[in-house]
């Protein structure tokens, strides 16, 4: 059970995401801030559902009233009813005194029902009644207690699919899904990784009363290439680990969990260069005009290609210098081929498979891009050791 959250949130402190998708989310949160309607937050584990719920509460008229967060996954079928609606003394063995439920505790404020998909079907009917009538009845009680609570539900599953499968009541789904907020997984917004990294490193180093040491490009590469199955929570933990273990005055690859390195090594290199120093100054500024990566930047597998790059409208009267699309495409192609050859240790058949092209096509492209054999990956290890 989670109690009223202590997370201090303002829109600004929390806008740690500059991707279009997160901006759209924040924009939507702003719009629905003063609404009283039910919100359904969907997102994978670790995408920030509770933080988002807190944010909605803090930006609503209910902010001076309680915010009560409950994970519905934590309770057994019999316990959940008493947790949410409370019970009267003697309602069941062990009910030695009257106890208000979470809904009553959230009176005037907001209740966040996380893992709503874990609510058993029988309980879903009761929840639906509560949402419709805005009243609760304690277990073993006869009194109907009116409640004034805004409901936010959270789920990591596809509720609509659960409805089709008969595992979630359709009527409850529609009752909950008034204002849907979909939180994108971190791998779909890699441009936010450096921003989040900076945010968390600052937080954890501040706790140690230290300044954030410089972060090496190799670490940035690893973090931006890794696909973060645990989303922001995993990134947060990785940053905490760095803050706790780094004692050499610079965040280097040795501070990063090897699982992240191995995970990152399986991902293709990113093509847009992002440096920590650029980030903070960037956040509050309007979107900079799109910068085309140079061949050299493409070469370095640094940071992500923004999946949907943001094209700022050209400022009036200023025409950017022309670029050759063909050349750019070829450079990009060459960098991907080099990457594929590198990770397959020069095995062209496997590299071709990785790039989903024919082996013969790869041969042609290698010639066309003027690429020779891949990096000397297969040399004697003894030669490499002396770094």
């Amino acid at each position: 059970m989670m109690m009223p959250s202590q997370i201090p949130v303002t829109m600004e402190s929390l806008v740690v995401g500059k991707s279009q998708r997160m901006r759209a989310v924040f924009e939507f949160l702003r719009v629905i801030g003063n609404s009283e309607s039910t919100v359904l937050i969907t997102g994978e584990s670790g995408t920030g559902k509770e933080v988002t719920a807190t944010l909605i509460h803090q930006n609503s008229r209910r902010r001076h009233h309680p915010f009560v967060a409950v994970s519905c996954a934590l309770f057994t079928e019999t316990l959940i009813e008493s947790e949410l609606f409370g019970h009267e003394r003697g309602a069941f063995t062990g009910a030695i005194k009257d106890r208000p439920g979470r809904f009553e505790m959230a009176e005037g404020g907001t209740i966040f029902l996380d893992d709503i998909d874990d609510v058993p079907l029988a309980m879903q009917v009761k929840l639906l009644r509560v949402l419709q009538n805005r009243t609760v009845e304690r277990v073993g009680g006869t009194r109907t207690i009116p409640i004034n609570v805004r409901v936010i539900a959270g789920t990591k599953r596809d509720l609509k699919q659960m409805v089709s499968d008969g595992r979630f009541r359709e009527d409850l789904y529609y009752r909950l899904n008034v204002l849907p907020v979909a939180l994108p997984p971190l791998r779909e917004r890699p441009e936010d990784i450096p921003v989040l990294m900076d945010h968390f490193l600052r937080r954890f180093f501040r706790r140690k009363n230290e300044d954030v040491p410089p972060v090496s490009d190799a670490v940035m590469q690893a973090f931006t290439r890794y696909n973060w199955p645990g989303n922001v929570r995993e990134l947060e933990n990785a940053c905490e680990r760095i803050a706790q273990t780094c004692g050499c005055g610079a965040v280097r690859i040795g501070c990063v969990a090897a699982s992240i390195l191995f995970g990152a090594a399986q991902q293709p290199p990113r093509t847009v260069s992002i440096h920590m120093s650029d980030i903070m100054s960037d956040i509050k500024k309007p979107e900079p005009p799109l910068q085309f990566p140079t061949a050299q930047e493409l070469e370095t597998p640094v940071a992500p290609p923004a999946p949907a790059p943001t094209f700022a409208p050209p400022s009036a009267g200023v025409m950017p210098a022309p670029i050759s699309l063909d050349d750019r495409v070829r450079e990009f192609e060459a960098s991907l081929i080099r990457w594929a050859l590198r990770v397959t240790h020069g095995n062209k058949s496997r590299a071709a498979a990785l790039l989903q092209i024919k082996r013969s096509t790869l041969g042609d492209r290698i010639v066309r891009c003027g690429l020779t054999e891949p990096d000397e990956q297969q040399h004697d290890p003894a030669e490499r050791a002396a770094v």
Binding site: T245, G254, C255, A258, V387
Partner: protein, 75 residues
């Protein structure tokens, strides 16, 4: 049966570019039977945290690919 050096080398090669980008490397010293010893070189070589994280992580990664692998020693 002893594990071939190349198989371990291949696992190390996956993370090597990251280490090298930070001025370090990992050197495979020896493979004996089902165990291997490696040495961290370069910038992170003196960092106890790096030893810890790389040791555990690399050992786990080798075991994933070579289930019969026994232990990894970091010199």
């Amino acid at each position: 049966m002893a594990i071939e050096k190349e198989r371990i080398q291949a696992v190390l090669d996956r993370v090597r570019p990251f280490l090298q980008a930070d001025g370090g490397d990992i050197e495979l010293l020896a493979v004996e039977g089902r165990s291997a010893s490696v040495r961290l070189t370069g910038v992170c070589a003196g960092c106890p945290a790096a030893h810890m994280t790389l040791h555990d992580g690399i050992e786990a990664a080798i075991r994933t690919e070579i289930p019969e692998f026994d232990t990894l020693q970091v010199a």
